[in-house]
Amino acid sequence: MSAFTLNDGHAVAPDLPDVLPEPKQRGRIMGAIYRHPTIALGGTVLTLMVLIAIFAPLLFTVDPTALAPAKRTRAPSAQFWFGSDMLGRDVYSRVLYGSRVSLQVGFGVALFASVIGTTLGLIAGFTRWVDTIVMRVMDGLMSIPAILLAIALMALTRASMKNVIIAITVAEFPRVCRLVRGVVLSLREQPYVEAAIASGTRIPVIIWKHILPNTLAPLMVQATFICASAMIAEATLSFLGAGTPPIIPSWGNIMAEGRALWQVKPYIVFFPAIFLCLTVLAVNMLGDGLRDALDPRLAKRL
């Protein structure tokens, strides 16, 4: 996104030469984490969320869809830790189960957008006529604000988590495509790549050995930011009623349902909101830290 780090005061040490013995490697990774505490902090919170999502059934939750009409809209208490909603469902259980939706959509979109974007970006970077067509299509796709494109796509299909992932992926992958194509175009000018081409190395080998390894760092950073914006996009779609089907508890759905009552029972909206913000913040911090650690110059490109 832009140059930003929480600990600008620290200078980044120059890379050690490759001739150094193996044991140093671990020191470098630990050192990078030490110099970029945002990685550790973001990573920890994200890991915690993943654990919550996996072990949701064991964390003193009840069935998140169980109705209890007699116990509607209870304030947070010993029985309902986060209160209960207008159908008497336990908000705590719903919020914990909701983490599954957010994380699956976030990771799913980041993965698919990276794979599709990288493939198209590589092809565009190496084939001139494909480049013209693909980049025009990407320009067009990127001219439609991402969330609107996702809304329009969701309006065409049935509400399901798979369709949410597809819709957000379509809205996000052009950014990856453009990034990878840019990296390819600049790498192609590098002497070692020109030398490889001149000496008759086949294109797939060049891509595998020279291009992909150099794409990995910016790609990882971009994927992290896409993961964060996909989580926000899912919540937004669900909140507007065009996302995850209402029977599945997702943070956006819980907030959408709490909307009608939010002036009197604000906790129904606020608990999922806190979880959503924390998770997105963790992913963004991880991305910021990774960017600074992997390549300080990247700050310029993202």
């Binding site: 067009g140 604000p145 991402a146 809304i151 909140f239």
Partner: protein, 313 residues
């Protein structure tokens, strides 16, 4: 300059065409056959076929696309399935609140984010810098509707300073207009502000280390003069770029903000259209918003030459 202007305007035509093609395809592949709907339940397949031919729905994709495009250029966006009103009419009724919201948000965001970024860069590494950047990363990670509810809860429900919801037209006075719109504008602008503040700080850090800044300092230009005249003008290109690209977050966010604050604008129209699967309306709004986005970025591109006369394409 004029030649550059025309070349740049011409260059947006393929992009706009591409957007139009996407948006048209949306309606083309949308479920539900308009001919079958008009024909009703009792119609025979022959009747449906006749109606389809009379509506021109049996013609090839590209023919229909260019006919649709011709209509759009004349301002005809089709007819809503649900209300049977013309989409252009429905949009024109709803556009004022949305444009008001976006304009106010733009003004607020720029007037807070740029000084924030400049000061953070100037006081680089100090507490002020960290506070500004921490606020920025939080702002960047908080969805619009969460900020909206939080602000409404605090300033409208708890403190009772501002109205919770609603919209007053500017024609009814600036006071009531601002009172209704200030919370939505802050909620909508937070992500945008965070984006702009971050890029301002990053670019300013870069610029402040340049020789001409040192020279300006050496010849005794006041700190304020250096920051806001010498440095900011040279940092302008990346900043206006982000202002242009980030405008997408304003457009997407306005849909959500209008839902939270019950503002009867284009965003509400979009949400209603989604719930009713009113494809012509969805199509019209997406097309209009994308067009605004393209035009904003065109203006940004033209601004480059104002800030940096060396830029010529």
């Amino acid at each position: 300059m004029l030649a550059y202007f025309f070349r740049r305007v011409l260059a947006t035509i393929p992009v706009v065409l591409m957007v139009a093609l996407f948006v048209f395809s949306l309606l083309y592949i949308a479920p539900g056959d308009p001919a079958a709907i008009i024909a009703g339940d009792q119609a025979t397949p022959d009747d449906v076929e006749r109606i389809r031919a009379s509506l021109g729905l049996d013609r090839p994709f590209l023919v229909r696309f260019f006919e649709w495009l011709w209509n759009v250029m004349r301002g005809d966006l089709g007819t809503s399935i649900f209300t049977n009103l013309s989409v252009t009419h429905m949009i024109s009724q709803r556009i004022e609140p949305t444009l008001s919201l976006m304009t106010l948000t733009l003004i607020l965001s720029l007037s807070f984010a740029i000084p924030m970024g400049v000061i953070a860069a100037w006081k680089h590494g100090t507490m002020i810098d960290r506070v500004v950047m921490t606020v920025a990363v939080f702002g960047y990670s908080t969805p619009v509707f969460v900020v909206g509810y939080l602000l409404a809860y605090l300033f409208a429900l708890q403190l009772d300073w501002l109205p919770v919801q609603g919209f007053t037209s500017i024609s009814q006075g600036l006071g009531p207009f601002l009172r209704n719109l200030i919370l939505p504008a802050v909620a909508l602008g937070l992500i945008y502000m965070a984006l702009i503040a971050r890029i301002t700080r990053a670019t300013m850090l870069d610029v402040l280390s340049q020789d001409y800044v040192r020279t300006a300092k050496a010849k005794g230009v006041a700190q304020k003069g250096i920051l806001f005249v010498h440095a900011l003008k040279n940092a302008a290109v990346p900043i206006v770029t982000i202002v242009g690209i980030g405008f997408a977050t304003l457009i997407g966010g306005s849909v959500v903000t209008e839902s939270v604050f019950a503002i009867p604008g284009l965003g509400r129209l979009t949400v209603d259209a989604i719930l009713r699967r009113d494809y012509p309306v969805i199509q019209g709004v997406v097309l209009l918003f994308s067009f605004i986005y393209v035009v904003v970025n065109l203006v940004v591109d033209l601004l480059y030459t104002v800030f940096d006369p060396r830029i010529r394409y």
